[in-house]
Symmetry: C2
Subunit: 520 residues, 2 copies
């Protein structure tokens, strides 16, 4: 308790300290809630867990449902448990967990996804809660501390907190006393709506343009609760041979671009997604020839600590620390060393096209699949089943200096070790268009698509990226489609609409995308 009082430096707020069970009655069925948090870090835990316990104990499943607006995914012990207790009606813009995904794909949870930079601002504009006057009923924000003048010091992520506190009628703070005070790590720019916005004066990865605190109207704080739950850290993705081969293709490409004078020797600010390929790329950079590197991204994974330790990474800007439990221990155990080289920003800034394009980021993300003309599917397996959401991939891929997508060339189906090709004639759902992507990479090779027309792109993507099991089929498709479309004088980007998804239909029926032929 004394640590809690120390953390709440604005003394007049001490009388708003409550036990977690005291805040439960504030929550009513149908409310719009905004939480802090981003890719399991910095999210409220004490209150969501207590609410879930309350619903479970009182058998209120389906009778206390909420609309959840959170920067991105949060720990499964919160949103996914809520889904299992039928506590979620709407959820924007990104999520993880088996129960929540089942709820979305079976039609019980209404999810929508939007580019994260736009989610934040559109939430602030009141677009998602139009029927509620553009307001959120309650914002729940995890904090490290509250300053003398009532500023919120956030924890391991910034998420959409600046927008949430602006439109929330009431705010509940969870002060997490089990982790260090993150004071000084954040750079918060107050959201201003058009037409009165000013430029964001960020020209370098380590520039600051805001405040280390989130400024709020403290009258809106209705309760402050102590929390000692740690973030449910992201499990570390193991590297594998395929990922290493992909990473090597990317690192070779970087060296070539430096040689050709199209990249500086220390590259450009890197954005890297999550997962084993991203880890392999960062691991490769730690051993590689480039130094003076900078990172401008959404999430820092454990491998980024290795990159700092290698001496090759100068500075990182991120929305969240998406470390494993061990990663957090390492970060906290070397606070001085790491914290001076990191700035955390809200997603409305970190993912904003303005700094991404100005800095000239190199964006790297993994799709579900891409097609021979360089459209990519990042969200819907089979074109219909939601995984997590588009997240920030579109923000970065649209605006980067170099937009790179990387994936294994094939994945196993239940019955065939290469039953799913990740290079298809036409992705069944498009999240990133041919107008957005520069480079596609698999363990087979790298296709540099800059300056190529669609048919030249298709040839190159099949040659460089497709798995050998699928090359003949894809070449045959391109040949038939080109012949038929040219004959109709409609062959800029040849497709056969009467059989374009034959591989996907075959997968559903026969467990593999290896079809016998392209006959209708």
């Amino acid at each position: 308790m004394s640590e809690l009082l120390n953390r709440i430096r604005r003394k007049s707020l001490h009388d708003r300290i409550r036990k977690v069970e005291e805040v439960i009655p504030l929550f009513k069925h149908g409310m719009n809630l905004g939480w802090s948090g981003f890719t399991p870090a910095g999210y409220p835990k004490a209150i969501p867990i207590a609410l879930a316990d309350y619903v479970e104990k009182n058998q209120l499943q389906g009778k206390m449902r909420f609309n959840l607006f959170i920067g991105a995914s949060v720990g499964v012990e919160t949103e996914d448990r809520w889904a299992s207790l039928d506590m979620i009606d709407r959820r924007w813009p990104y999520q993880t967990g088996k129960n929540i995904q089942a709820g979305i794909n079976e039609g019980r949870i209404r999810m929508g996804d939007k580019h994260l930079s736009m989610f934040a601002q559109d939430l602030g504009y009141g677009f998602y809660t139009k029927d509620n006057g553009g307001r959120l009923d309650i914002g729940i924000i995890e904090c490290s501390a509250i300053t003398e003048d009532g500023g919120l010091v956030l924890t391991a992520s910034c998420g959409a907190v600046p927008e949430i506190v602006q439109i929330a009628d009431r705010i509940i703070i969870e002060i997490n006393t089990s982790i260090p005070n993150y004071e000084g790590l954040h750079d918060i720019i107050d959201p201003v709506n058009p037409p009165n916005r000013l430029p964001y004066l960020l020209s370098r990865v380590d520039d600051r343009a805001g405040s280390p605190y989130v400024r709020i109207d403290t009258d809106k704080i209705v309760a402050i609760v102590e929390s000692q739950y740690p973030d449910n850290g992201r499990a570390f993705s193991e590297q594998d041979n395929t990922s290493e081969a992909i990473a090597n293709n990317i690192l070779d490409f970087f060296q070539f671009e430096v040689k050709e004078g199209r990249l500086p020797k220390n590259l450009l600010p890197l954005q890297s997604g999550v997962g084993s390929i991203a880890n392999a790329v960062i691991g490769g950079l730690a051993k590689g020839p480039f130094s003076g590197l900078k990172v401008w991204t959404e999430v820092l994974q454990d491998t980024m600590l290795d990159l700092f330790d290698s001496g090759k990474l100068d500075f990182a800007s991120t929305v969240s620390l998406s470390f494993s439990v061990d990663g957090f221990k390492r970060f906290y155990g070397n606070w001085e060393k790491y914290s001076n080289k990191v700035i955390m920003r809200p997603l409305s800034i970190a993912n904003h096209p303005e700094p991404i394009r100005r800095l000239g980021c190199i964006a790297m993300n993994t799709p579900v699949e891409f097609d021979i003309y360089a459209h990519a599917n990042s969200t819907l397996v089979g074109g219909t089943r939601m995984i997590n959401g588009i997240g920030g991939s579109g923000d970065f891929l649209r605006n980067a200096y170099l937009s790179i997508m990387h994936t294994p060339s094939a994945r196993p189906s239940k019955t065939d070790p290469t039953g799913i090709t990740c290079v298809v004639p036409h992705v069944p759902h498009v999240d990133h268009t041919e107008h957005d992507l520069d480079v596609l990479v698999t363990e087979q090779g790298l296709a540099d698509l800059r300056g190529l027309d669609p048919k030249s792109r298709a040839k190159l993507i099949i040659d460089k990226c497709a798995h050998p099991d699928y090359k003949p089929l894809l070449r045959e498709y391109l040949e038939i489609a080109t012949k038929e479309c040219m004959a109709r004088k409609a062959g800029h980007e040849p497709q056969l609409l009467d059989r374009v998804f034959k591989m996907q239909v075959n997968l559903a029926k026969n467990g593999t995308m290896k079809i016998a032929n392209w006959d209708i």
Copy 2:
């Protein structure tokens, strides 16, 4: 000649004045050329026409082919005539004309399209001419004048000139003495490559952040040619009942948004595309209740002069003046009145996400078609046949405060007056994703999609936007798809991949998208 000398205020350049026939030998087969120009305005005419005459006269068809990089489309007497003479190998990023479109769709011309803001910067990065060291061989720039210190005063568009003159080895200037000197209308920011870029200090539509001239290395000027060709002005699109109904739906929506407090009374800076619907919207605004309007767009059409005359438009920022011949007469005849209310910018600035998002533009564009989940096809009829290119639609729709697409609900096929529905289950080519669009409009009604999950979007789009002839078919598709995908626990965004393009296939075979049923 004396007017030409007056326009070239840097006297040391007078000895580079040449007759047009003298520059023909500078052009060699296979060269990479950059031209000024944007949506037929401000493009070079004397030299392209002379080159076409030369090729025709000497029967050099197919023996003098060039790669053409131009901000957007230029007059048919230039690029389209070049296409008819087989003078184009590659063409980026947007074009108009029957011959060039035939060449692209029959595989003789390699076209690629990219968001215009990225085309400009990627051209400057050397991405499109990697095999030529990132250089253009010759840049041909139409100018009004050359200043004392060698600055280029452009004419009726800015296009990609700043990037072209940076990477061109040689520059040829066409001074157009038949039109007024446009001095003072342009605001040119010198392109700087990452990582050394600074913010663009543009916070209002009428802000200036650059220079009225394009600064160049005058040593690169190898010839200056006089031109007296006028721009081949865009024909005025007649308004029709369908367009007026669409415009009324949009204007009603604006009034509602103002009432709800989500738009200021003078709206936000407007981006409006070309064509009859755009004209109807602008025409409606001239008669409507909003004043103090501002425009931040790519092209000004004739109706924008009416909007100025109505007293309701305060200021317009544009890339080009895309007037008809009569529109240009009106503009030139009232130079003082109009020119003080217009700034012209290069597409790397006008289309850049940074000002578009900061200003909070309202973007309005016409697609070929959209689907029930709000993906839109702007470029490829039937998913394969190129029309013009994506242009700046993605730049604006991705970054606007409100992203609106408008189209008639149905179009005639050869045999059926409503044989083509513009609301389909799945667009065969995606240029704009469900993550980008807020509002879809037809003459039937307006669907406000903000905050809706995909299945709710689909219901609303069918209800509000689809033509009555297609509503039952679309509802049936959604019902079957939802049932089938839900059963597979994959129903976030239901689709039937085995028959998703059945309407399009039927159109090709039977001349209408009205199918009997959804049976496979």
